[in-house]
Subunit: 413 residues, 2 copies
């Protein structure tokens, strides 16, 4: 009987580093929210391209308003009204002002805008100014927002709604982004049947194929589910070989039985270098995880043997497949999102075996003094322990547990 | 000149409460990740439907292993090997054991599984047991995960990958979810041109139409963008009237000029009760926001006048439109996600005017002692202050600012 060599979560994380970003594809920028840039994007133009008012008010020469106050206002002649959407056909000379709306083009000669509330126009020709304007006040000068040639975002940025807005503002209507990672899911298990079928005694409906596919979608990847792998080494090698050619990541789901694990290891190793790197991780749930890599051309394909228990499957997906997808998508940056979570007070003592990282599912409850995290008991074979959970807390390898009342950080599902 | 009556962010939040969930639609459960349940979902069957082993090992009668130890093992006869995917055709009698894999069906007569590592099979007929099994140990009994009739998830749950897995496990292949909210975006502004065009002097490329549409997509809604509204009350009333019939939420984007605001208010009020509820919020950025509601049949349509500055537009969207979309999608629960965020140390003093809620964009940096939040300066007219930001911090209404070194919670974009 083989006892696999269990490595720490940190060592396992090493095995999922160094994947290259996928090739780029050009798409309309309006469809690019959530995608990752495959190139630095610079502004082709100045934004704004002309000096604009950021307020409703009067465009003035600041010098004409120096010293203006409630008691001693300045009086200026109204030289005109700036139309929205075209250049004013007049100038603001000494002692003059122009009515202007937010976003309007500053007339030649003006260098500041005095806000509406500090002005009164007793007639159509004169405006009373009760506050001095400083040069540049309430004015966005040419290139203040973005200069022509200035980088808007670096390669590797995951695009958010405001990034799409910035692209629109400078006329960028197509961008190069990384192709979405294609993840092949190969289910194993002679006991599995399709959820549409009525299982015979001893058979169960497949869970992992569908929960893993949904998890891939949640992370912006494209899942491809395959028929159940037979418990046969030749067939496994052949199906796995095809999947590695086609997909960027291959998940062999289930196969938690010792025999299937051995087959998976042998099949992965048969596909090429470097083969299986990790076989067993000191993490709960998810110990019987396999991490392999297979070189094709100048890129590595990831092949991960995902444990069969439904809770283990998803927790391992988040811990070790998510980082692979992030690298394939070429996303850079500090991944602050990983540190996002909810602070909560632990509802009861939580023991943990030292030498093992524990991922404990919790239900959150809003209490009098903040949020309470209630650990959910139950086996990792029980999917209901996840449907009832709001997220999970991580008890590090060396830790013997956490006491009730301690503050914990909950990673939300 | 009209000065609108500014309300607090809290009062404005009142105006966006009480929207009814949208009608339900039935979709395949495999496509339902991210959607919100429109019904309670109960399990039609027990899960598991037969007692299963959660480990590789030997199914035994626990009583036969009482007192077994390394020094005094128990020896049991191997009655058979449980096949995966079918019912064992034998029983485990007194003094007997059966080889079983994870997920295998417990043979009649057995009530516990002893893990592989505490067993040795010296030959094919006998197994040595070196640890006692307790009744039920490493066994998932009928209905342990979910009982027939037990609620898996309540109406209003936003479905996550593991929920899809649970549905598969009990054979639920279609679910009723809320229709996605349809959000019509009506841009205004005579100065706006399509991003594909080259603007003439005084014209600018439209930003908000596209950033708002992307923000709707980010929240699971369906955006519908319309041509630019002319600066004409009759046309605005007519286009707004059509949009209210068609869409669940109507955003009038831009129109930050005083005249357009007046038109928007008049047009909203002309559509029916209750009309405009908020006109101006003590929040920065985003003061000139309009919130209206128009009753159609027995539901309220939301009509929100979004400020024209691109930063204000998105911040107001997140603060006041996001809650509307959440209600329309029927999502229940504590919205713990709103409290998720990153803890950071403020990089420098940040003054704030009391009586106004300030939403300050920050860039995050990983320092020696944790994450530092650097406030980004710049006008809300500058979209680049958002593309450079990782998120924002909120300075409450009554606060006069936050000192450098204080711990702040950053809501990530």
């Amino acid at each position: 009987m083989e006892f696999f060599k269990v490595v720490s979560p940190e060592e396992a994380s090493e095995a999922v580093r160094g994947f290259s970003p996928l090739p780029a594809e050009e798409i309309p920028s309006f469809d690019a929210v959530g995608r990752v840039l495959a190139e630095d994007v610079a502004s082709p133009v100045d934004l704004p391209e002309f000096p604009r008012s950021t307020m409703d008010g009067y465009a003035v020469r600041a010098a004409d308003t120096f010293g203006a106050s409630e008691s001693i206002p300045a009086y200026l002649d109204i030289a005109g009204y700036v139309p929205m959407g075209s250049a004013p056909d007049f100038k603001v000379g000494g002692g003059q002002a122009a009515r202007i709306n937010t976003g309007g083009m500053m007339p030649a000669g003006s260098d500041a805008v005095v806000m509406d509330e500090y002005t009164t126009a007793p007639d159509e020709r004169t405006v009373e100014i009760r506050r001095p304007g400083a040069v540049g006040e309430n004015v966005l000068c040419v290139g203040d927002d973005l200069k022509a040639g200035e980088r808007i975002l670096p390669e590797g940025s995951r695009l958010r709604s405001h990034d799409i807005g910035a692209f629109s503002g400078v006329g960028i209507t197509a961008v190069k982004v990384r192709r979405r990672p294609l993840v092949a899911i190969l289910p194993t298990g002679d006991e599995l049947v399709d959820p549409r079928e009525v299982p015979a005694p001893g058979q169960v409906r497949d869970i992992n194929r569908f929960s893993l596919a949904a998890a891939v979608v949640e992370l912006g990847g494209v899942p491809e589910t395959d028929d159940i792998l037979p418990d046969d080494l030749v067939a496994i090698k052949s199906r796995l070989g095809e999947a590695v050619e086609r997909a960027d990541v291959v998940l062999i789901s289930g196969g938690s039985s010792m025999g299937m694990r051995d087959y998976a290891v042998e099949a992965i190793d048969s596909l090429g270098e470097p083969g299986v790197l990790v076989h067993g991780i000191s993490i709960k749930p998810g110990k019987p995880t396999i991490i392999g890599r297979v070189r094709r051309g100048d890129v590595d394909k990831a092949v991960v043997g995902i444990p069969g228990h439904p809770v283990s499957a998803l927790m391992i997906f988040h811990a070790f497949v998510r980082p692979i997808l992030r690298q394939l998508s070429g996303e850079i940056g500090s991944d602050f999102g990983r540190e996002a979570g909810v602070s909560a007070t632990l509802g009861r003592n939580l023991p943990s075996a030292p030498g093992r990282e524990d991922l404990v599912r919790v239900r959150l409850e809003r209490g009098e003094e903040g949020i309470i995290a209630h650990p959910l008991m139950g086996n990792s074979a029980m999917i209901s322990t996840m449907t009832k959970a709001d997220g999970y807390i991580t008890i590090p390898l060396e830790n013997e547990g956490i006491r009730a009342g301690a503050e914990v950080r909950v990673t939300l599902y």
